[in-house]
């Protein structure tokens, strides 16, 4: 009997296929298979039969098993790829950094610029307010000085108030103006108590009657509540108010007499 026939009939090839051989015996069988192609063919036939047997005795695994297996293999692939992946993200982060810092710088510049603008605007407004305050302070000082001076003037014993009133014969019967008159100091202050508002092209003018001649003491604001300085005229016997064209007249328009009062 040839060696290969002996082997074929011994059943060792079947043992080999069914996994009943120890490692050493199996290795020996594999050597035979290399040596004798007909033994290899026989083993393949037995394998084919066992394959058939296995397929016929299959049991479907529960449906979740497939997913489990596929995902576990997916994870394996991912794990393998995580190493280069991290370097990739690192690289990407690395490339992202200059962009981010550039953006930060731009943002910082923009913010600083807007703050700077606000600072200038605020300090400008502050300076304007300061200027305004100074102006107001000065004008306040001036006004205070004026008021103090006026008060001093009015308080003097030789300052006489002359009341100028309207009458039935004048244009403004209810007119009432007081002129504070001081002959010694040669000064006069006018205080409007009640005068009709003049037309926009007209102005009130104060006149002094000196020996029946009307001498201008100047134009004044008929609506102002302040004391108004007027020119002093000596030897006046009476004071009169007329309504004159804007800027005043050389000679009094007698028909436009509003009020008068004796000195």
């Amino acid at each position: 009997m040839k060696e290969q026939e002996k082997i074929l009939n011994s059943g060792v090839l079947e043992q080999y296929v069914l996994g009943l051989l120890e490692r050493e015996e199996a290795a020996k069988v594999e050597d035979y298979l290399e040596k004798y192609p007909e033994l290899k063919t026989h083993v393949e036939q037995v394998q084919e039969v066992m394959e058939k047997v296995l397929l016929q005795n299959g049991i479907e695994p529960p449906p979740h098993v497939k997913e489990q297996i596929l995902s576990s293999i997916d994870e394996l692939g991912q794990k393998k790829r995580t190493a280069p992946k991290t370097t990739k993200t690192q690289k990407r982060r690395f490339r992202l950094m200059p962009i981010l810092s550039a953006m930060a710088v731009v943002a910082l510049v923009l913010v600083s610029f807007s703050f700077l603008q606000k600072y200038y605007a605020t300090s400008n407004a502050y300076r304007q307010l300061e200027e305004k305050y100074e102006v107001l302070e000065k004008s306040c000082e001036i006004n205070q000085a004026i008021v103090a001076a006026e008060r001093e003037f009015l308080m003097k014993a030789n300052t006489l108030p002359i009341a100028l009133r309207g009458s039935e014969n004048t244009k403004a019967p209810d007119a009432h103006v007081i002129v504070h008159f001081n002959k010694e100091e040669q000064a006069a202050l006018l205080n409007v108590i009640n005068l009709p508002e003049p037309p926009s092209n007209k102005q009130y003018q104060l006149w002094a009657n000196v020996e029946d001649e009307m001498i201008s003491m100047g134009v004044f604001d008929g609506t102002s509540l302040d004391l108004q300085t007027v020119d002093f005229v000596e030897n006046a016997t009476s004071l009169n108010i007329t309504l004159e064209p804007f800027g005043g007249s050389e000679e009094a328009t007698v028909e436009q007499l509003q009020a008068s009062g004796k000195v």
Binding site: N9, S10, G11, V12, E14, Q15, V17, L18, G19, L20, L21, V43, E44, Q45, V46, Q47, E48, V49, M50, E51, K52, V53, L54, L55, Q56, N57, G58, I59, E60, P61, P62, V65, K66, Q68, I69, L70, S72, I73, D74, L76, G77
Partner: protein
């Protein structure tokens, strides 16, 4: 088998398409083997997963000259299951020893106990075999018995185990060829009609 060649190429090139294909075609056969071998469905599922991971990791090592793809898959699956059984039996032995100092406790006895509890019968061609042939294939292939364990379990000498195994497989092959031819004849008949 052009399709199978493609799958082998996928396996060798670590193409993800390989795994669903293998699963759809072979998971039932492998799982059937595992359930019978391990007598534990949850464990069988774990081992099936472990085996598929091995297919994926070692796919590039598969050599079609050394056997069919299915033989490669089934032997990996089978070895994984046997390793699991061994480590499980080892753990059990250790546990029992520490508890009751039971020395006489091999994988053999645990297996026999387990198989008696829940036995799934074989189907298909193998079930048509005469009992004395069928049981050898069942014990060896589906229950992971070693040569020695079969001898002890069936109380027959090694020579008888080998000859019965050979006869069993010859019978199976004959049945298999007959079935294949029958299918061929039916197709032939159908095409003639």
């Amino acid at each position: 088998m052009a399709e199978q060649k493609e799958v082998i190429r996928w396996l060798q090139q670590k193409d993800k398409r390989a795994i669903p294909y293998l699963y759809d075609h072979y998971s039932a056969a492998l799982y059937g083997m595992l359930v019978r071998l391990l007598q534990d469905e949850a464990l069988a599922q774990d081992v099936l997963q472990e085996a598929f991971i091995k297919f994926w990791k070692n796919g590039h090592r598969y050599d079609s000259k050394k056997g069919t793809l299915f033989t490669w898959l089934s032997s990996i699956t089978r070895n994984t299951a046997l390793n699991t059984l061994q480590s499980k039996a080892h753990r059990n032995t250790q546990k029992n020893q520490s508890m009751e100092t039971l020395v006489h406790h091999s994988r053999n006895s645990t297996l026999i106990q387990q198989t008696n509890v829940n036995k799934i019968g074989l189907k298909g061609l193998v079930s048509t075999l005469e009992e004395k042939y069928r049981i050898i294939i069942d014990l060896a292939y589906f229950q992971g018995y070693t040569q020695k364990e079969i001898e002890e379990h069936l109380n027959i000498p090694l020579g008888t185990v080998k000859s019965r195994l050979r006869i069993a497989l010859r019978e199976l092959r004959t049945l298999f060829d007959y079935e294949r031819n029958a299918v061929g004849i039916i197709f032939l008949l159908l095409s003639c009609m």
